[in-house]
Every structure is written in C-alpha cells, then in structure tokens.
C-alpha cells in the first residue's frame, strides 16, 4: 500500500475545516450570542493555522493567525461578535481557501486588504449589546495529569511549549512526576519519562485545555478534573460554558446550571468527532465488489447445500446466507451520506445572493439527515445550485414589491429532503411571484418549441423551462437568465434516472421537486428471458406485463401493435432485435414500458420475476453498445445485461425503418 501525499491529505483536511468554519460563521450570523459557535470557529481556525504551518503553508498560517486572534478576543469577551466581523471572516475564509490551493500565488495585497477589513470589524464595532453572554468571566480550577508517549520527543513533540501554553491560560502550578525515570545506565536520553501534574486556575473553558494538546491528543494520556467553579460571575454566563460533566467530580455554586446545559452541546460535539472516518470512495467500491462476490458465492453454496441431504451443511449455508445478506445491507448503508453536506453550501450561496441582489432572503432547510448515496449527492450539487439561484433571482421579488403585495419583507427559500419509497425527494420552494405561465407560453411559441395555441397541461408548460436556451428573464443578470442552467438541471436529473415536478401558484411562489433514486448502485429490476439470454428491465420503466395472445402474435406479422384498453401500443420483439436464433416460446409475453410520453411493448420469452439489481458498468470496449446501460451478476454467477429502455426503443425504430425501406 502506498502512503498518500501528505500535502493532499492536508488539503482534504483543510477543505473540511474551512467548511466547518463557514458553517460556524453562518450559524453565528443568525445568533451572534452563540458562544459554542464562536468556540467552534476559533478551534477550526486554530487547527487550520497549526496544520498549515506544519505542512509548510506559511502564508496560510500567518494569515489565519490574525483571524484566530480576532476570534480569540471575541471568545474572551473582549470584543463582541458582530455581523461585520462575520462577513469579514467569511471573506477571509475564501482567501484561506485560495492560500491552501495555490500557496505559491501572489496573495499579499489581498491578505493585507482583508486583514485591514478584519481590524476595522473588530475595533470599529460599537455594539456591546450583541454579546451579553460573554460578560463576567468565572474561574475554574482544573487538575490535569498528562503524559506523552516515550518516543514523543523523537517524533518531534516538545513538551515545553505545551506547558507554556497552559501557563498562558491562567494561574498554573506544574509539578513533574519523575518516578518513572530509569537508572542512569538504562536511560535513553531521547526518550521521555516525565509526566506532569498541573493545577490550573483559569477563566477559560475546558475546551481551551484540549486545544493546547490538539496535535498530540491521539497518542497522549490526559486526565482533566474540574475541581471547583469559583462563582464570580452572574449565572447568565454559565449556560454557554461547555463544561464536561463526566469529569466534574465536584461542583458548587453555579455549577448545576452548567451541568444541565452542557450535555446537549457537549454530546453533540463528541458524536461529531467520532463519526468521521475518512475512507477513499474507491475502497468502498472495492468492498462493494467483494461483497457482491460473496453474495454470488453464497448463492452457489445454498444451491449445493439444498441439493445435499447434509443437515449441518444446510444450517451453515443458511447462516452464511443470512450473514452475507446483512453484510450487503450494511454495505449499502456505508455509501449513504446525509444531505447536510449538500445543504450546508447553500447557506453561503443564499447569503451571497442576498448581498448581490439586495433582497432579504431567508433559507430554511429541513430533513438534512436524509441519507442518499454519495455519488448521487455529488451529482446533485450543480442542479441544486441552478435551482436555488433561479429561485433567488427570478422567483423572489424585491423587498418593495413584496411589501406592496402584502408579503413579509424577507423572501423565503425552503430547501427540504425526505425519503419516500426508494426515492429521495428534494424540494426547493420559494414564496416569490411564481412562474408566469403566459410568458413561458409566449416564449416557447416564439422560439418554436411548441406550436401556437398548442394545448398543454400546466405541468407540460412548466417542463418547458428545462429546455436548452429557454429563459423568461427579460434581463440577463450575473446570476441567471442566460438560459443555461435549467437544461443542465434536466440533463443531470435524467442521468440520475430521476424526475422533476413543478408546482407554481402566481403570486404565491413555486415549488420544484426532484425525485431521485436513493442509489445508483442498485435498482429494482424485472428479470426476463429472451432466447437463452437473461436481461434486466428497470422496474421504474415497467407499466404492466401481459401475455401476447396467439391471434395478436399471428396478426402482428404485418403490424406490430397490440390494443391495450382502447389505445394502440406498438411493440418490439426483443428476439428479433437481439437475433437470438432460437425457437420462440409458445406463449410470448409483453412487458409494457413507458419512455417519457411513449408506451412501448417489449416481447420476451419469459418473465422470471423481480430482481434486486446491483449495477456494474459496461466495459470501455462496449461503449458503442447503447442498448445496455450496464450489467449485473445473477444469483447463479451468470451475467445479465440491463436494458437502456430509451436507447432500445430508438434502436427498434431505426431497425423498423430499415425493414420498411428494404421491404
């Protein structure tokens, strides 16, 4: 196994930190008194500075240092958190990203300007009411004992600066425990044998102590006891203070309040710290392949066991079957990630869009814990950006217009996700002016998309906005209106085998829902047999199955239609299309599928049944075969191909045109 490039590792870590910082800042912007968020942002900046310096990103470390200092002052209650400060640090955060990505670039001027901005935001604010929670520090006595691993110094850790940092936190009494130092002739001078007992009286929270040890935390032993809280402060200050009840052996005075308030925030944080194990996606894919193999091997085992009379063998085989089934389910879940990640970036987008358009926009998100396959999430990001931009730019009116029509001054964008029967539904709802149907129609007629006076349902009309080059915006803004974007949405959602639904009420707003399959790795399929080959038809495309009556079969030499509840449905004989060269089964079956607006029947020899289909991509050597979207491995180890219904129908039409031309 090769070691990953440390710089790349740092970049991934930095990207995550920057995201956390941004989320913290945006939360803080909503509630300026939220001390937990101040701490979170500070910790993020601190870590970024530290690891930046460690990996040689000097410019980043120096720049981040100033932001950290600013937040440190907020944290200590010296200056209040203000909107101006949050905006300044948000901008600085973007700059940090540039520093991470192109450390060699010329960033000096930008850094200077941003820092000047930051200084103004910190010093120039005169808004003392904003930070009532920070007033009146109370002092806590902590008793610490820590020891570093024996090889710590050899690995480049110097305990002295750690002790200095502890001293900076407050009044400190440090005692070295030298009991484990060996006799002189056994002493290795580069090893570390000393442990330290520290009594620290500080106004800082427990987390400040953790910050000191942040880079050595993994290997060291650290115990912290909170001995007493000296109640110098009013009780108001206490709730925001994250104490750790687990180690608080004795509490007096205002401590009960602290203990009661802490678990919610404290537990939430520790859970967050534990839940991330960074695994490259391709390893998950590999694991998935292995699990697939196991499932296939297992089904062969069950076949063998079923055929033998050995009861012990059968019992074992059943155990293996259950275990591999569970393993497969767990594997599926591993690939699922909550949409939080996706949604969190929209808070920033909306924040920026509000500034750009001068509108007041409030974003409400819901259902962030809904889980979707990772690859789906990644591909959803672009379409959602387009939709949210579109809502902000075209959907929402300006504040004046809103007030005039009796709405609240601030526009609302509601972003929600929920699961529903194997699909995830993502809805973008705004309370703006709604889609102007007449303008959509006029525009569509003008550009020749529909015939004049064509009768369309509202849904059909709304779907027109997803056509390439379609925009009803009379002016092109920086944000949208160029007519690109919405067709990207349509294309991406189609590729994800999803659907788009639009609801709009004039004057009240519009709602766009995207329904997307939970995973790209597995679909529900209908397994059919054509000649000797077995094929999977995606169940989402299947409308119904019926038998092709002998009369229809005979008659269809001249025409290939069946009448299905008074409408004519054309059909394709897959045996002809695939040239199976075998004798057809006596009773042919028809699987009626719908591709968009069309319904087409596919004639097959046998319908085998439902099949949970694990999709494998087709090889590059088969990229010219459009009829199949992928392949899957059946229980007996054979490969079945998955039909791409849209392409199949197109292929069938071509072939028929061919036949007509020939005959």
């Amino acid at each position: 196994m090769s070691f990953p490039d440390p710089i790349a590792v740092f970049r991934t870590e930095a990207a995550e930190l920057l995201e956390q910082i941004e989320a913290g800042l945006l939360d803080l912007n909503v509630n300026l008194g939220d001390k937990d968020q101040v701490d979170a942002v500070f910790r993020g900046l601190h870590t970024l500075k530290g690891s930046g310096a460690m990996f040689g990103f000097e410019a980043l470390a120096a720049f981040t240092h100033h932001c950290e200092t600013a937040f440190d002052r907020v944290r200590k209650g010296e200056v209040p958190a203000t909107h101006a400060l949050v905006t300044a640090v948000l901008e600085a955060k973007d700059h940090m990203r540039a520093l991470v990505e192109t450390p060699a670039g010329d960033h000096e001027a930008m850094s200077e300007a941003l820092l000047a901005n930051l200084r103004r935001a910190v010093d120039g604010s005169g808004d003392p009411a904003a930070a009532p929670a920070f007033a009146g520090p109370s002092q806590t006595l902590f008793k610490l004992r820590f020891s570093l691993p024996q090889n710590a110094m050899a690995n480049g850790t110097n305990p002295l600066p750690l002790l200095d940092e502890l001293r900076d936190l407050g009044t400190c009494r440090i005692v070295a425990d030298r009991s484990s130092i060996p006799a002189l002739d056994e002493l290795v001078p580069t090893d570390l044998h000393i442990a330290w007992d520290v009594e620290l009286l500080t106004s800082e929270p427990r987390s400040a102590i953790d910050d000191v040890f942040i880079f050595v935390m993994d290997d060291m032993e650290l115990s912290v006891e909170e001995i007493a809280v000296a109640a110098q402060a009013p009780v108001v200050a206490a709730p925001a203070r994250p104490a750790t009840p687990a180690v608080a052996v004795e509490t007096i005075a205002s401590a009960p309040v602290t203990a009661a308030a802490a678990p919610a925030s404290g537990d939430g944080k520790s859970a967050k710290a534990n839940e991330n194990v960074r695994v490259p996606a391709e390893r998950l894919d590999e694991l998935m392949d292995r699990v697939g193999e196991l499932v296939i091997a297992q089904s062969r085992l069950s076949q063998l066991a079923g055929g033998s009379g050995d009861l012990t063998l059968r019992a074992v085989s059943e155990d293996v079957e259950r275990l591999s089934g569970e393993l497969r389910d767990t594997m599926m879940v591993l690939r699922m990630v909550p949409v939080t990640h996706l949604f969190s970036r929209f808070r920033r987008l909306v924040h920026d869009l509000a500034n750009e358009t001068g509108k007041r926009i409030e974003l409400v998100t819901e259902g962030e814990t809904t889980e979707v396959d990772k690859s789906v999430i990644e591909r959803l990001a672009d379409p959602l950006v387009h939709l949210v931009r579109n809502s902000c730019d075209h959907g929402l009116e300006t504040a004046d217009e809103r007030l005039a029509s009796g709405k609240t001054e601030a526009g609302h964008i509601h972003l929600s996700a929920r699961q529903q029967a194997g699909e995830v539904i993502i809805t973008i709802k705004d309370d703006g002016r709604g889609i102007n149907k007449d303008r959509v129609r006029a525009k569509a007629e003008a550009s020749g998309l529909i015939a004049a006076n064509a009768s369309l349902t509202d849904q059909e009309l709304y779907q027109l906005i997803f056509q390439p080059g379609f925009s009803t915006a009379s002016e092109v803004t920086n944000l949208s209106g160029r007519g690109v974007g919405m067709d990207v949405v349509k294309r991406t959602i189609d590729a994800l085998r999803g659907t788009i639904n639009v609801v709009s009420r004039p004057g009240e707003g519009s709602e766009i829902s995207l329904a997307i399959p939970l995973t790209l790795a597995i679909i529900d399929g209908l397994l059919v047999r054509v000649g000797n080959g077995r094929y999977v038809i995606p169940l989402s495309a299947v409308e119904e199955c019926l038998e092709l009556s002998v009369e229809e079969d005979m008659r269809s030499r001249g025409r290939s239609f069946i009448s299905l509840r008074d409408s004519l449905v054309p059909f394709l004989r897959l045996r002809d299309l695939f040239r199976t060269g075998t004798k057809p089964d006596q009773f042919q079956k028809v699987v009626v599928i719908s591709t968009g607006s069309e319904r087409v029947g596919l004639v097959v020899d046998q319908i085998i049944g439902d099949h949970q289909t694990v999709i494998k991509g087709m090889s590059k050597l088969h990229h010219d075969v459009a009829t199949f979207s992928g392949a899957t491995i059946l229980g007996d180890g054979d490969v079945a191909l998955i039909l791409d219904v849209g392409h199949l129908v197109a292929e069938g039409q071509q072939q028929e045109a061919h036949l007509r031309a020939a005959g």
Binding site: D289, R290, G292, E293, I296, G533, L577, F578, R579, G581, K616, G617, M618, S619, K620, L621, H622, D624, V625, T627, F628, A631, T632, I633, G637, D638, V639, A640, L641, E651, Q654, Q655, H658
Partner: protein, 171 residues
C-alpha cells in the same frame, strides 16, 4: 510502411534485451503477452453474449464480481473458431486504452508457460506472405523452429472490425 513497423516493434522492447512473457496457443499458432499485464488465468466460464457488440468482444464474463468483456483474438486474425477443450483457458489482462486501465479476458486454446524472449531473436512482421493485418502484430520472435507472435492489443482493441457480430441489428 516497413519503417513504421520497425518502429512499432522497437516500441515493444523499449530498449530492453529481454521480455518476460506468457505464451499461449490459439488455433495452432503460438502467441505471447508480456507477463506483467496478465492478471489471472481462468478456466472457461459461462459467457453472456452482448447483442449489438463487435463480434470480437461479443460476450462478457463474471470475473470475480466484475463484468468484463471476453475478447476472441481469433476473429481479429481471421482464424477458424475451435471447439473448447480441456486445455481451454481465459487469460485476464489489464491494458491501457485511451489512458484508462481496462480489464478484458482473452479466450485461448491452451496456456503454455511464462518464458523469456530475446530481442536479438525478434523480427518485425513481414510485409508480404502474411494474411493478418500487420499493425495487429508488434513483432515475431523466433524460438527453435517456430515463431511466437506478439500481438498489439492496443491496436486490436481499438480497431474497427469489418466483420460485425451477427447480432448487430444493422449488420
């Protein structure tokens, strides 16, 4: 033409004096592939034919949970199909096509051995006296009384084959 062929065969050796190869037989001819591209040698597996694909890669197999194409170089060299025997094997190889690694199986009649070929015994494919497309062959290496063919898989896999599969609808 001889110039380019000469160059091709030099590419295969890349200045090396020796090549470690796996030799195998197809329709009575001995072929060799560089050993490092060989992933695995398998017994024959159930095949699933892909309607509409080039006959040369007309089927897929399940290679330990992966679906990979099964190539029949016979068709590239216009050889007669032979019946599977007890010696028939599939060689799974990984080659780079357009910068991407691609796994594929190659159907063979018999797998012989891993051996070393000498550059000094290699010759570019003759431009006459051969019914195969010369660009499908990297070079011929003489060993004893026979010739070992080193096929150029990159060219073979990306070439357009005139004889499309009978299953092709347009065929």
């Amino acid at each position: 033409m001889n110039q380019t062929l000469k160059k091709l065969s030099e590419d295969q050796w890349q200045g090396r004096d020796e090549l470690e190869v796996l030799t195998f037989e197809i329709a009575g001819e001995t072929f060799a592939l560089e050993a490092f591209i060989v992933q695995e040698i398998l017994d024959l597996l159930p095949e699933t034919s892909v309607p509409g694909a080039k006959a040369f890669v007309g089927a897929v197999i399940n290679f330990r949970g992966k679906v990979i194409p099964l190539a029949d170089i016979r068709l590239a060299f216009g050889m007669e199909a032979t019946k599977p025997t007890i010696d028939s094997r599939i060689i799974v190889i990984e080659i780079e096509i357009d910068g991407e690694p691609v796994l594929a199986g190659i159907r063979t009649d018999k797998v012989n051995e891993v051996t070393t070929l000498l550059q000094s015994a290699s010759e570019p494919p003759p431009s006459v006296g051969m019914r195969w497309r010369p660009d499908f062959i990297n070079c011929l290496v003489k060993r004893g009384s026979e010739f070992i063919i080193l096929p150029n898989l990159q060219v073979i896999f990306s070439a357009k084959h005139e004889h499309a599969s009978a299953a092709t609808p347009h065929g």
